[in-house]
Amino acid sequence: MRTLYLALKYLAILLWSSFVVFPFLWALSTSFKTANGVTSGATYLPWVDYEPSLLGWESLFGGAGGINIFGPYLNSVIVTVSASVVSLVLGTLAAYGLSRFRFRAGFVKNGDITFFFISQRILPPIVLAMPFFLMLQTLGLLDTLPGLVIVYIALLLPIAVWVMVDFFNNVPRELDEMAWLDGCNPIQTFLRVILPNSLPGLVVAGMFCLIFGWNDFFFAFTLTFTNTQLLPVAIVSLNSSVTPWWALSAACLVSVAPLLLLAFLAERFLSRGNLAGAVR
């Protein structure tokens, strides 16, 4: 009975794992194919089903049928990282304020302000895209990196506030009070006592910012044309043209690689139950 239970359990884990991994393996396999391996139907194993070649990967670096994703890659890194950093700074500050002090403006209290931040996640991108479009046009920032950074801050700030408010609510208030009595004003308290103890929260918030920033397609798509293409836009535009599958697959893998790496690096922070309180 117990053996059967265990067997079923590992079978389930294995099944889901293969479902998760399948698209990556397929893309990896495809990226080493040539026309022979693609146009005559699906093939899977290199050397067995098809003769592997580095054509796909070479094309990323200006080889035959070269597609240039280096520019978009750099753009994506710049926009994602700068928007994440700004959001993390502003969001952490706001979250600390909301968690520790009482604010009141008429009937608006702390809970309402926190809700205002987080509720921005409800707005569908399409609702924001049109006003953003007009706003950036007015500011002359359409199709520029700074324009995208501004928009991404609006996307990521709510996430940072959401994670950090929950994190700070779990840091005992007495720690702040202790620091006050030891002569720190609120800003010094935050910088010298709270911040050095906030790494787990910052890592989780930062990861979420990077994920949602790096993975956005819609705003990058609607607010840029040709000058400042971000990576997802570049890849989707390859998709609609006649790019060979091997080059496309290689590009896709290169595009999702950094966050996969990040996931394994930040693993110990993720499943610690940091988010449990935020959902309640």
């Binding site: 699906a42 502003l90 706001a94 007009l134 994920i211 989707v236 996931a263 693993e267």
Partner: protein
């Protein structure tokens, strides 16, 4: 005494207000204008756009389709996510590895993965039909038939976002106290009874939260659709966001699209609030 408190809150608050609130107010104004590609600019046409959208069947169909798609995927995600969380909650070989592996899909760019999924679902060159045929089954028109295209989009959404559900539910499981399980073991309760008597009631609040969060995100579905099916065949996979996108940023009927998006937003907020209240009543009240 704590005047410095404003230094914490104000920068973030002002930034968000500046970036989001003003454009949103502007959208409300635009929705009362006939702004389009021929005559860009703010005029006043009263509620004409709203009257037009009332008659716009394609809009309401897209909304219904979205409701079905979001509800369906989130339900499947919840069941799968809970199951997966239970699988790697307690001692399992390579626990940490599997926990990260299960999270992987949500870390990937949805459109990029959709590009890969498109090759997977490709009707003559993709592996899905190939495998079906090898198993002696028939190849299926994954993208070109209305029903299957809908299914394909849902499969991709489930692949992408079950991990998020998994993450939230696992976090919830990990924060459960140990004592009730000891008590259940002493009572000799089997795994099923333990689950329904001990685990599930305690996960009710988290479940509601996780389902709501996912519903919010799922109600925005459009990128997968854009890459995988472009709303097709016909309008078989067209969601609200996608339809508004076509009206607004492809046809450039900004005035009309603004009214569409505002009504969409209002319907979303109202229905999500109702769903939230309903779920809380069903799930959470029982245990009191």
């Amino acid at each position: 005494m704590y005047r410095q408190k404003y230094l914490f809150l104000i920068p973030g608050l002002l930034t968000l207000v500046a970036i989001i609130v003003f454009p949103l107010l502007f959208t409300i104004r635009v929705s009362f204008s006939s702004w389009d590609v021929i005559q860009p600019g703010l005029d006043w046409i009263g509620g004409e756009n709203y009257a037009r959208l009332w008659e716009d069947e394609r809009y309401w169909e897209a909304l219904l389709r979205l409701a079905g798609m979001a509800g369906g995927t989130v339900l499947v995600q919840y069941v799968l996510g809970f199951g997966l969380a239970l699988l790697v909650w307690r001692e399992v070989l390579l626990k940490r590895f599997f926990r990260v592996l299960f999270l992987i899909p949500m870390m990937t760019t949805p459109v990029v993965m959709s590009v890969i999924w498109r090759t997977i679902f490709h009707e003559s060159l993709g592996p899905v039909n190939d495998l079906l045929q090898r198993a002696g089954l028939e190849a299926l028109p994954w993208i070109s038939s209305a029903g299957l295209a809908f299914t394909s989009v849902m499969i991709v959404e489930i692949w992408q976002w079950t991990p998020f559900m998994f993450l939230l539910l696992l976090a919830g499981l990990l924060s459960l106290p140990e004592e009730p399980y000891l008590a259940a073991r002493i009572d000799g309760a089997g795994p099923f009874r333990t689950f329904f008597r001990v685990t599930f009631p305690r996960m009710a609040a988290i479940s509601v939260g996780a389902i709501l969060i996912r519903l919010i995100e799922a109600s925005k579905i459009m990128e997968t659709v854009y890459v995988l099916t472009s709303g097709g065949p016909g309008t078989a996979t067209e969601t609200s966001s996608y339809y508004i996108y076509i009206r607004g940023l492809r046809d450039f009927q900004l005035g009309y699209a603004a009214s569409l998006s505002l009504i969409y937003l209002i319907i979303m907020i109202v229905s999500l609030t109702l769903i939230g209240k309903g779920l809380t009543r069903i799930f959470v009240k029982d245990q009191a």
